[in-house]
């Protein structure tokens, strides 16, 4: 039934486009839409925002007349958080749906599986949320082959830097903290993150007392918290994304007296408060944007429009996916074409003020080729805290709204 219908639809569409061709000849060709495939984890808290944000960006661009008269068309695929499903979706997007570029996934393992396909099928590919260093390192290692992949989010190395920069100002300078324990899940993205943490935390004045890596399918965090408490650190530096709700709730239920600070991807989504029954209170997490935080003039309007349309604020990958649609459109405009190689060349010259800051990509000679640049004036990331059920920016001071505060069970060892 479905195939008959779609067959009929195709005939009608074919006839219509034939008609359009005959009347407008050359103009009709130019007005073919720019197709962007969006492959994401539609059921996951961080991934659900990706296709929604991309669609929002496309709708806005189209309402403004599109790119030189060409509309942006978003075709989305649910990958069920699986690499195999993502690869199939990528093949289908390129071979059958004829997309010009792909935006995909916040999971590093998935992105690393897709990267060779972007090279084989010569299709520009941007990830809105994966962090592994390997993504952009492979571009550097074999540029000609892998130049189609762009890393639209901070690398784990840059994320570690962002956390350390914030830790220095907030924890060391203000609260005189001296020691930390790193707690991270065992996944591709945390390996370089942990290396980064181990290197930069001592530099900012936090001695690393212990380093705990745990399996991402851990459900009981009691032993982990007990072990951490045993080494008496001033702060727990987190690197968690696949888990989030469970460690946070158990941290609160067990009244672990040590603050959590670092990366906690699930905490970037507004629904995290409800999912944890507000156990998130006091959790400090790194983000690239947050509700009500004017990183750039575009950040707040985007978050509000998103909430109006979808009922909640976007996750971090929503912000990046929204920006990505815009700068892919911008690159297509500058290139005057959607030819893959021309699009890649134009993307490399991207200088786009988005919702997360000013987006530029590292060049061919940088070890992190095609990853977005980290630094003041570009993208520094933020530190936010859950306070009274809301996500509030506390760092950097240009956007900070308030001071850090902790629930009563947190016993700060220093002042």
């Amino acid at each position: 039934m479905k195939t008959i219908l779609s067959g009929a639809l195709r005939m009608v569409l074919g006839a219509a486009s034939l008609g359009a061709l005959m009347t407008a000849s050359g103009a009709a060709l130019a007005a073919a839409p720019i197709r962007i495939g969006v492959i994401a984890e539609a059921q996951a808290i961080a991934g659900a925002s990706i296709p929604q944000a991309a669609q929002l960006a496309a709708d806005e661009i189209n309402a403004g007349g599109g790119v030189d008269g060409r509309k942006i068309e978003i075709i989305s695929y649910d990958n069920h958080s699986s690499s195999a499903d993502s690869v199939r979706a990528f093949q289908r997007a390129v071979n059958e749906d004829k997309v010009n570029a792909v935006i995909a996934s916040y999971i590093s393992e998935v992105v690393l599986a897709l990267e060779p396909w972007a090279s084989r099928l010569k299709t520009p590919f941007v990830t809105p949320g994966a962090a592994s260093n390997e993504i952009s390192k492979s571009v550097h290692a074999d540029y000609e082959k892998n130049k189609y992949t762009f890393h639209g989010y901070l690398t784990s190395a840059a994320l570690a830097l962002s956390v350390c920069d914030a830790a220095k100002e907030l924890l060391v300078d203000k609260m005189h903290m001296k020691s930390a324990v790193i707690m991270s899940e065992d996944a591709a993205w945390t390996k370089p993150l942990d290396v980064g943490y181990e290197e930069c935390l001592p530099k900012v004045g936090l001695k690393v007392l212990d380093h705990i890596r745990f399996s991402p399918d851990t459900t009981d965090f009691t032993p982990i918290f007990n072990k951490i408490e045993g080494s008496k650190p001033d702060v727990i530096i987190t690197g968690i994304s696949h888990v989030g709700v469970q460690p946070t709730v158990q941290w609160k239920n067990q009244e672990v007296p040590i603050p959590m600070f670092g990366i906690s991807s699930q905490a970037t989504n507004e629904t995290f408060g409800k999912d944890t029954n507000q156990a998130a209170e006091g959790v400090l997490y790194q983000g690239v944007s947050g509700p009500g935080v004017a990183v750039t003039p575009k950040s707040v309007p985007f978050a509000e429009n998103f909430k109006k349309k979808f009922g909640n604020y976007p996750s971090y990958a929503g912000y990046t996916a929204y920006d990505e649609v815009y700068y892919i459109a911008d690159a297509a405009k500058r290139a005057g074409s959607t030819d893959a190689d021309k699009l890649v060349a134009a993307l490399e010259k991207t200088d786009w003020e988005g919702t997360i800051g000013r987006v530029q990509f590292y060049g061919k000679d940088d070890p992190f080729t095609h990853s977005i640049k980290y630094g003041r004036g570009l993208i520094t990331g933020l530190m936010l805290q859950w306070q009274d059920g809301k996500q509030i920016a506390v760092w950097p001071k240009e956007v900070a709204k308030t001071e850090i505060k902790f629930p009563s069970f947190i016993k700060l060892t220093t002042n």
Binding site: S81, F214, S215, T219, N226, V245, Q246, E255, D275
Partner: protein
């Protein structure tokens, strides 16, 4: 150690229902994990979306598990058992596959409506107490007490009431029970009801204690399955012992070795027991 006790008691509660069903009706219910998760997610949704309060939420969770258990029996298990087209010797395989698929269906429905994110049920008792220098959440103690109470009630039910005795008899010799003039189907319904309530309580407590997501379905079924196999299929007391062995082994591994290897020793033990004593610790067959 209290942590280990609470976990073990939870495992025991989950596995008891599972083994009871197998003992009485020979059904290995592979949708077990899905029913537990459904209970926890229902309790979460009732408490935080509908704002009915913690107690009512927990009750709704148990009720949902009961309904789901009956649905499993009437929509999946019974049609297969009553079917004339499936040869008797293949029915067990059909039931296995049927309940497995049913479990996946429930899991996907939960993921679709509530995302695959972990949910946690608000604890009934908040706060912590100090026991011998270890800060223990009161809810953990509550969990352990409820589990013990429920298991004790179950023991009373099975050994002291007429219905319970019928259930026990059915698990030993189903044909004998029918000869005594008892309707086997009624016993099955009673068993599934007990099972639904047990799985519901276990699910809600698990939701409070550790939190569950649609991803937990597989591991929960697997843990119940391995506990029951370890203890001896169909033996309730065997399952209880096995639950504590597995619970403590996991906790000790997590504390002394590394949280990353938590489940491995228990699985190794299972393999060893399978070699030495294939019928399980207290298995009859």
């Amino acid at each position: 150690m209290i942590d280990g006790f609470a976990i073990s008691a939870l495992y025991a509660l989950g596995a008891t229902g599972f083994t009871l069903i197998f003992g009485v009706s020979g059904v290995l219910n592979l949708s077990h994990g899905a029913i537990m998760v459904a209970a926890a997610v229902a309790a979460w949704a009732a408490a935080s979306i509908l704002n009915v309060g913690t107690y009512a939420g927990a009750l709704i969770g148990v009720a949902v598990a009961l309904v789901t258990a009956f649905a499993t029996y009437f929509a999946v298990v019974k049609p297969i058992q009553d079917s004339r087209r499936i040869p008797n010797e293949e029915k067990e395989i059909f039931v296995l596959t049927g309940t497995l698929l049913w479990g996946i269906m429930i899991q996907e429905l939960i993921a679709y409506f509530f995302t695959n994110n972990a949910k946690t049920v608000l604890p009934i008792v908040e706060g912590v107490v100090d026991i011998l220098g270890v800060r223990t959440p009161k809810n953990e103690i509550f969990t352990a007490i409820v589990c013990c109470l429920v298991i004790a009630l179950l023991w009373l039910l099975v050994n002291r009431t007429r219905t319970g005795k019928a259930v026990l008899a059915a698990s030993m010799n189903p044909r004998g029970v029918t000869l005594l003039g008892l309707e086997l189907t009624n016993i099955f319904i009673v068993v599934w009801a007990i099972y639904g309530i047990l799985a519901g309580i276990a699910g809600v407590l698990l939701g409070m204690f550790l939190g569950v997501s649609s991803y937990s379905v597989g591991p929960l079924t697997a843990s119940a399955f391995s506990i029951v196999v370890l203890g001896g299929l169909g033996s309730v007391s065997g399952s209880l012992i096995a639950a504590f062995v597995v619970g403590y082994l996991e906790t000790i591994t997590a504390y002394l070795v590394s949280p990353a290897y938590r489940t491995i020793p228990a699985l190794l033990l299972l393999v060893v027991v399978m070699y030495i004593r294939p019928q399980g610790l207290l298995g009859r067959r």
